[in-house]
Subunit: 439 residues, 2 copies
Amino acid sequence: MSDIIQKAKFAREASYALAKLPGTVRDQELGKVAEAIWRHREAILEANARDLEAAEEMLRKGEITGAMIKRLELNPEKIRGIVEMVRGVASQEDPLGKTEYAMELDEGLELFRVSSPIGVIAVIFESRPDALVQIASLCLKSGNCVLLKGGSEARNTNQRLFEVIRDAADAVPGGWIHIVEARREVGEILKMDDYVDLIVPRGSNDFVRYIQSNTRIPVLGHADGVCHVYVDSEADVPMALDVCYDAKVQYPSVCNAVDAILVHEAVAPWFLPGMVDRFLRRGVEVRGDARVRGIVEEGVLEATDEDWGAEYLDYVVAIKVVDNVEEAINHVNKYGSHHTDAIVTSNEGTALGFLESVDSASVFWNASTRFADGYRYGLGSELGISTGKIHVRGPTGLEGLTTYKYYLRGGGHIVADYASGGSRQFTHRSLDREWKRKL
Amino acid sequence: MSDIIQKAKFAREASYALAKLPGTVRDQELGKVAEAIWRHREAILEANARDLEAAEEMLRKGEITGAMIKRLELNPEKIRGIVEMVRGVASQEDPLGKTEYAMELDEGLELFRVSSPIGVIAVIFESRPDALVQIASLCLKSGNCVLLKGGSEARNTNQRLFEVIRDAADAVPGGWIHIVEARREVGEILKMDDYVDLIVPRGSNDFVRYIQSNTRIPVLGHADGVCHVYVDSEADVPMALDVCYDAKVQYPSVCNAVDAILVHEAVAPWFLPGMVDRFLRRGVEVRGDARVRGIVEEGVLEATDEDWGAEYLDYVVAIKVVDNVEEAINHVNKYGSHHTDAIVTSNEGTALGFLESVDSASVFWNASTRFADGYRYGLGSELGISTGKIHVRGPTGLEGLTTYKYYLRGGGHIVADYASGGSRQFTHRSLDREWKRKL
């Protein structure tokens, strides 16, 4: 049996024991993890230095970018941030054991729906070493076992962080955490639907689509962030300028940055000159359709069909003039990626129509698309942003790592008594009571 | 463009308009559907008679069973039941527009998470014609568009029911409901991840697995119902006899009937003789392991390895003696299908350990597995029972057909103000307020 199947089987077995571990113990173990990371910071930095050395060599060969090295690099300050993140996860509310539904089916026959861990999660993540710690912490907090596959550039750092976490959390059932080293092992994970309950790929769009196409295991991952701002005829123009500017330039390389701005024709002559001017002064490349270029002649490149639906992740923005809000809604639903889209308007009816008709996880009224984020939403540490509609949608924290179970407690109740001609009837009375584990 | 892609595109467009239809209108349209089905009952019965005629011919050729004909057959009484079912769906609470999370991010910047339709659902279902009406009603109630593919044996009945529903619900955006006729069109649906948000296959295990393996679209469907009852050393023996008997014989051809009974060795000599006797007198085939056959010598066939994990859907049961509750838990997690499993015991600690460690959607204490059902759970009309852990688990009604959206209402808020050195800070104050659509 291959090494990875062994690990996954081991994780599956550990998942049954981990599901019973009380929240207080999970939090105490997270505390030990935080403490151990700080205590072993020299060894972690030493492993990181080896990764950086190899990365510098790759940079010289042009195989990676300087930005990637910056993401890979750890220092004591970054390690302090990681430790605080782990403590933050520990301090969040326990996502497990919450009674979501409680119903008396009949006298002495009580049903409880209780939040539970999913089981075994496989996470494939980018090269930032803090990602490993964040994912491991979220999984432990939510009672899940985890298979971790990080970027190969961070191999030494990830291995050391993994060992520190595994050794520190010694009251957690052994086998709850594994590291997956070889890229070919990802292909094996995709086949293990008996042992893996959920795959979370964090990576390029093509990679996420590849995973979705090649496994029966459910996949939680977002594939694109093509975001729009629609500036309505009744928009406050200075507000629209600020929102669009922030949505583009505050941090352009992320999924919730705006890609295309749609402008109502009635406001275009008042909005476009100022907007284009601000963008150009900030070094943003502006691509406009013919109607945009009819209003602002200088500095606006020609937008092509490829611009609608493009995710730039850079200082580039496409702008289009539309006849009305319906055209804007249709454009967003056709070309968007159902991630985050915004309307700027002072008309409440127009805003509500946009919010209800735009088929996206997050739809904003008079606010920048950049607010779409688990921390900003008050959801705690973010696992990812889902553009799928099943299970979880939008910014996702611990909730994405939980499911539920139905517990039914009876006194020997049988269904025959409730069949036609039977002696009993269902009461279906909501219970105002939590499922409580006896201490 | 093929006919089925046209239908799916049409459904996708209709889904944006349907998402805005108020619950009162959806309920009123369901009322019109119920009324129309009753008014057109003669035409529906006439179409059903044509299907039955073809089915009788297939029965003579041995291509289908008498039980299938019985399921296919409609009569005025069954139609009355269907009409009542539609009215029942209409009377359920509106699953849409519920505020699940409300948070002030900052003064004047308010986030609401609101339950929403998923969009376009494709449902592939069995030959019972009431299934079409039930699925269409659940989809309309939850604001979803639907592609319906029924069994070919019910083709004429389904076509007539589809026309009655489509024509009756004339205030619903056109294109919300489509019927898919050819089996080959199912293959096309699997590729349409741009137009279809969720596939619900109701059929054989192999069929559900085939769907899961051949699409990127999320699949909601259960693949097996391999259910266990564990009779603990501290079980009340008469109660255990009643629960096991009910779980097997009350209706053996369904997914929540028990397949294997596990008996603690300490109680086996008191439990097994009576249990086997009751089963044999009712015509149940009993297959036991060596230890069972050591206690009850007559009438018990030899269980083979294939019996553990088998779903019988018939008057057959496997019985095994185990050393302790741990062995029972491990057996259930290894051979079960994570559907429904029960423990009979008077020891609360043993029961809670079993409930928490058994990795199944429904885990029962002193009650028959046959209670696992959306109606019995008080969830309303049942779409299916999910043995997956993602999105929905266990008996699933309208909740399986909804997702949510995040609405953020601001006053021109931008993220730059909250970045380091910015002028503002998040308040993250829970709001005790619903998202309200202006009337």
